[in-house]
Subunit: 467 residues, 4 copies
């Protein structure tokens, strides 16, 4: 995909002329434009393989040394930009091996003993996804850190808690932000589980059936940081469920980010005016210099589409494939590479936005009190203090809200007489619970929004997620 | 979704007439047609909640007993089919609570103290998915058991190992089947991880902000088999990532099943003729009584679409939702329910097919030898015995294959003279490795296809997966 | 899918016990639970087929009459609820044919001459989708009518035009609503194209290869309202692209509806307060009687997920199927049925909401003037009257906006002196264009938001879409 | 997406370090890496806009000439590779405009009069998709031509017609190939409809509300080959349904290609051996020189995933966006560009494969006769000649198939005595219809597989699709 875009406006063929068959085949078949991103993994895996071949006596120490040295050279060449990738050599494996032959001669021809491109690419991709998961974990942790920091700062900042985008009950901004810390915590947990599950080594599966050479699969696995070799060679070369699992957790994470992004867009609207985007993450307009378009948040929200699309795409590609390796599976790389780059960018942008936003706390608090948002507090008081059944308390409260609405006041604007006109048992004590601060403070059950809870949750979150 | 289909050919409205607004709203808003499947979870969660309210002194023991007894009655009514679900009561929660009022009077009105439908439905669905994961684990284990059984039986049955649906190397059928045991093992691992992660209790989050009642969230969590209460009330009522994680692992499992289903369809074709479907899982034709259509395998393959579609659908529904509860989230149930039913059915059908298939082992073995499938064995021999570099051995082998093809024989039909005409160093020893049995036997590296390996792998799989 | 949900909480098997193979097969194989919705199409197609068989002399007139009469009886039985659908008869076709045998005896056995279930079900489904498209067209037209009505009423109602959810320029509410009329117009156009393309008759393709009977395919096609018979029998029984096209246009329509639904949710928030939902389409709360949750709009938005999921699912099911009929294709019906019901419901709900919403036009107008929303008008004036290059006018305007912001006023609060302090060429004429009414009125280029344009567009839309 | 991959293994940020906010924003915000593919459309649209501005007297003729000439220069620079795209200028529009300023000075500042980037990019993308549709049409037509050619050649080549991948009835290869010609015909029809529907011009919608300049929208539309200007400015800048419609038809086409690709993979397996891939479209193996892996067919099949994923992704991105332009919509380009390139490549590869495949017609014919594939012919004969009811004929045939199976012969190996032993009314005439040639020839109803039909269908297809 990526590469085709780069070929021109409509793809090189454009349906405009009868392309030469060999050109079409080279273009559709070659993967070097994208699998070059596997170079570091490919080289390290080849070095481990060569070392093992020497240790088991399958090739000589001299050859292994030559191979390893040659691969070091190639790594430097690639990282310095000096390496000449050739499409006619099709993929990263052949590009590297061919260059190795130029560098060290015949010994290069011994590297491929007891392996195949099938187990080689499966190994490379597992190593790559493992790195991607580690990067994702760090980036997610950075965002958690930013959220926890702001939650600490705003542990007692009152804002409306919404259901159906309607004010329902007052909450604290810190509590709201910590909800995303929890979500990201589970996202990181999924990444950890995926990493553990994929951390088995396919090398040694060879083309599909294993090999007759006396290889040491445990040794290679260990050298590459895998927990163990994979137990079945056909499974090793034909399954890509680790890539699917990675894309799944990425899609769930992207959905989480999209929700926060939506909130940021709302909060930055004039109608909400809860938050101001830092200059660094908004775009303006030379004509309206005061304007701050929350472009970065919109992009984070919009990119959810491509992440979910990548997951869907790879599920489809793998559906119904008979064993073992089919060329369809070459399509596994682009979605993985693109999703990784997208998520890293989105997490970095979100971290910057969360860290840099400023909040209009007065506006938030004013909104929190609108819409009779303490009605449930009143009902709970009736239940607790007067022992009313919940449904009856609900009913009494409804009457009082209607009264307040008619009087054009909020609940804390009703007098004791007003309250007792609906139910005589109501006492003056209730007046102390009808403002938003008290309402928020009262929700001190575990997991509730009370500022004291938030302070404790911040401390706990630092320990659970940041240490 | 499900319910709408049942309303008639085109849905009740059909775009044909101007429906009354109240009817349209009742139909789009009510969820009782599908959330009734939560009844058992809803009742057990309400009983745990009522018990806790009594233990913390929020309601009386008498009321809690009445509530609990009434709910037992309702459970019986539902399971016996005597319960009258009412669409105007909208959802399972109101249907149950309304009936409880009929049964026990005023005490029913105390059940909803210190909770809300928001934490209630989140709890119900977590309990439901937890049960679904347990069912999935058992069903997957049953399929593993069937595969392991057949693998044991066919540890030494030779068949072609395919890449690109071309014969590549001989493998054993047992080894092939065990590859799916590995995949299912990872699928089960994902289910275990999902179960562990979701096993936290939302109850006590109330509408979104927690509650001012002195509830015991730990106690309720424990009573319902949860590991602990969820740490943030807004997260508790607004996230559905556990449902997404469940659907993700279901989609990956469905892809695995689709691959085995595809192979079964291929193997049952006259062109392959590797397997015969048991009567129970094929459909015939009165006109061609010999015919066995592998319908069940096709259905398993085809249903992959709806499973992936359900995952995609829920990801989309949740994308961009601001906190906390929005009515969009009512759409979380149908995909979960349908995927669970679909997978249980597919796993049961696949278990039956795997257990009941018979194999034409002669045909498989004959095919395994075609196409010069021992060419890599010859090349490996040249490397191992003559110390040729791999790439040179590859080249020599290619020449011999071409010679054999011209002579219309397979590799083991070449004479020593033939072999030596290409490379004089070749000795008679090579003749012992060019048939498919020897080829399979030689791949005895860990994870390889050799019959001895398969026997060991079967024993190990029984221990890992079935005990 | 639908049917499985109805089997119980976890599907009948639940992974809990070893189900009997025959039960599993019957459950996975039978389609009667959902394909019964094809009954009317199945019967009318059978009647047309029987009539043609008689007209071509393949069966007798008497037999055709008996068949036709028997089918009429069955239609009545089904529509009155008296028909006994049997799962062991698998599908709608066999249920009907079996009952026909009971009703008319041997003649029933002649109905299936020169056809097969393969062309029969393809015909039934085309007829069903054709009806669904007609229903969709009517329902979409109803929504257009409601939008046009409200646009007419609010042709001069000023509101903010948003980009990035930031006020950008004043627009008229009527213009805003008409944008959706355009989208729905294209949706209807796609439905018309789909209907035309699918309107070819598969009957006569028989199992897959056509038939040796001297049938009259043109006659049957005509009798069923098809434009012509399909040209290739294998294509006729194996493709379902008409269902994919239907689901595609449904998904695009659902996305359009989701955008309007999102706006309604925003407008109903306290922060926007642009619109009030009619009681019929919102849910309240006994505790907060003033609350209006826009549940119906949220459901419309949320259901986008299942519609897109259904499209994705069927694309996946059909991917990679070899010709001609495979049982996988049985999975084509549920997504089509469910999407049709969902869209009819969503369109009806949206029509009701649009028709019943009330708007706070003062609030809208006040917001329209905030945020220097006439800055582009000022810039355009500078270009037009002073012949400034656009980019320079942009720059001058930016300075004036900054000045206004510092003074705490809007642009129309600046004095001529203020204006001339930035650019001396500015004249008093500019003062007449800086309020929102003038701004909206000035955008009278074709397609622009000026009230006069809206009135004309309303008239044109009535002609294009409602007549 | 595309661009991120090119930034390095894990995306530039990699979650590894705290990136500078400005770098993160530039990377997430800039679109020049992909929207540069719009350069030709952007330039031609700007030229048409400038010309109109001059014609309506909004700018001078001299300025318009300067602008047009400058843009010609830029076009040359881009096409020759001399243009320096700058990420800090964000997108293609600003890159072009900035360069225009360098080339022609102040007049460049007048180009943006009466337009905005919002209507500009909507216009560019419509023009691009229009070109893509034209390219797709040509590429699809090329594939149809190849299929028709081979169908003509193989109008009488007998092969098995499959249902459930089981031999059902003999068909002709020509008939089989023409089924795909029909599918592609509908795909092209969808492209034509999409092109017609999108062919309206957004230019003049300006930012979102139209403009106060006296522009000539009809003139610009005409100059750019559009049928008319879009009727509503807000619709013009905010909808992308034309891109969704394009991706939908692309996904359906990809599914069609995947089915043919699957068949090619099957046919090239040793077990089928129906077809040989041309060297140009298969990959070999130096070790097994006889091997032909159908890589190109597998890639076509596999790429279905990314095409459907792109459609899903854009549907998701647009879901729930309030009007009008949001930055999320920047994500509309990559899926469109990638799908276009992918499909052009897949169509070219498929055209090459279809044109170059050779068929083993003897093998196909032999298979066509296996499995009692003429059983339906026998049953039809019984109905036609003996006036048996269809269901009885079905039963009699079943008995004869069982007899043949027991005797180890095919149906045409039964003697008249054998036949009459089951039903005495059977005459010797039946012996003439039990071989595959007769069976195929007999299916001469319109749309049936008979060679004579195929010849006629080929002639008709040439006229319908290739002229």
């Amino acid at each position: 995909m990526a590469k085709n875009v780069n070929k021109g406006r409509q793809g090189i063929r454009g349906g405009r002329f009868a392309a030469k068959a060999s050109d079409v085949m080279e273009e559709i078949n070659a993967s070097i434009d994208f699998d070059r991103h596997l170079y570091a993994q490919d080289i390290v895996a080849s070095q481990a393989h060569a070392r093992m071949l020497a240790e088991t006596g399958i090739i000589s120490e001299e050859d292994a040394d030559a191979i390893s040295g040659g691969l070091d050279t190639i790594l430097s060449e690639i990282e310095s930009g000096a390496f000449d990738f050739k499409q006619e050599l099709e993929d990263i494996h052949m590009n590297v091996e061919s260059r190795l032959g130029e560098l060290i001669g015949d010994a290069a021809g011994r590297l491929h003993t007891a392996r195949s491109r099938n187990d080689q690419v499966a190994t490379d991709l597992r190593l790559w996804v493992r790195d991607a998961l580690d990067g994702l974990d760090t980036a997610s942790k950075n965002l958690q850190a930013a959220l926890i920091e702001r939650a600490d700062e705003h542990s007692a900042t009152i804002m409306p808690g919404f259901t159906h985008l309607q004010s329902a009950q007052p909450v604290t901004l810190g509590h709201h932000l910590l909800a995303y810390v929890e979500m990201l915590g589970r996202d990181r947990g999924r990444a950890v589980d995926c990493r553990r599950r994929l951390n088995e080594c396919p090398l040694g599966a060879a083309a599909l059936a294993g090999t007759s050479f006396p290889i040491d699969r445990d040794g290679v696995a260990r050298a590459l940081g895998f927990d163990q070799p994979m137990a079945n060679s056909m499974d090793a070369v034909s399954d890509r469920d680790f890539a699917l699992e990675y894309l799944s957790l990425a899609a769930i994470l992207a959905v989480h980010l999209s929700r926060l992004a939506e909130e940021i867009v709302l909060w930055c609207s004039q109608q909400f005016s809860y938050a101001h985007m830092p200059d660094a993450f908004s775009t303006g307009s030379s004509i309206m210099p005061q304007k701050r378009n929350p472009d970065a948040a919109e992009l984070v929200r919009g990119k959810t589409g491509s992440v979910i699309g990548a997951l869907t795409g790879l599920l489809i590609t793998l559906k119904g494939l008979p064993m073992t390796y089919g060329k369809d599976m070459q399509e596994d790389k682009v979605p993985v590479f693109e999703v990784s780059a997208t998520l890293n960018l989105c997490l970095a942008a979100m971290t910057g936005m969360v860290g840099g936003m400023t909040f209009d706390t007065e506006r938030m608090k004013a909104d929190a009190g609108a819409g009779f948002a303490t009605a449930t507090d009143l009902a709970d008081w009736l239940v607790r203090e007067l022992d009313m059944p919940f449904r009856e308390a609900h009913h009494v409260t409804g009457k009082l809200v209607t009264m307040a609405e008619k009087k054009g006041t909020d609940l804390d604007g009703l007098s004791l007489d007003d309250l007792q006109s609906v139910d005589r048992r109501i006492t003056g004590d209730v007046l102390g619970i009808l403002n938003v601060d008290d309402a928020a403070n009262s929700r001190s059950s575990y997991g509730g929004t009370a500022p004291g809870n938030v302070k404790k949750a911040v401390a706990k979150a630092r320990k659970r997620f940041l240490s």
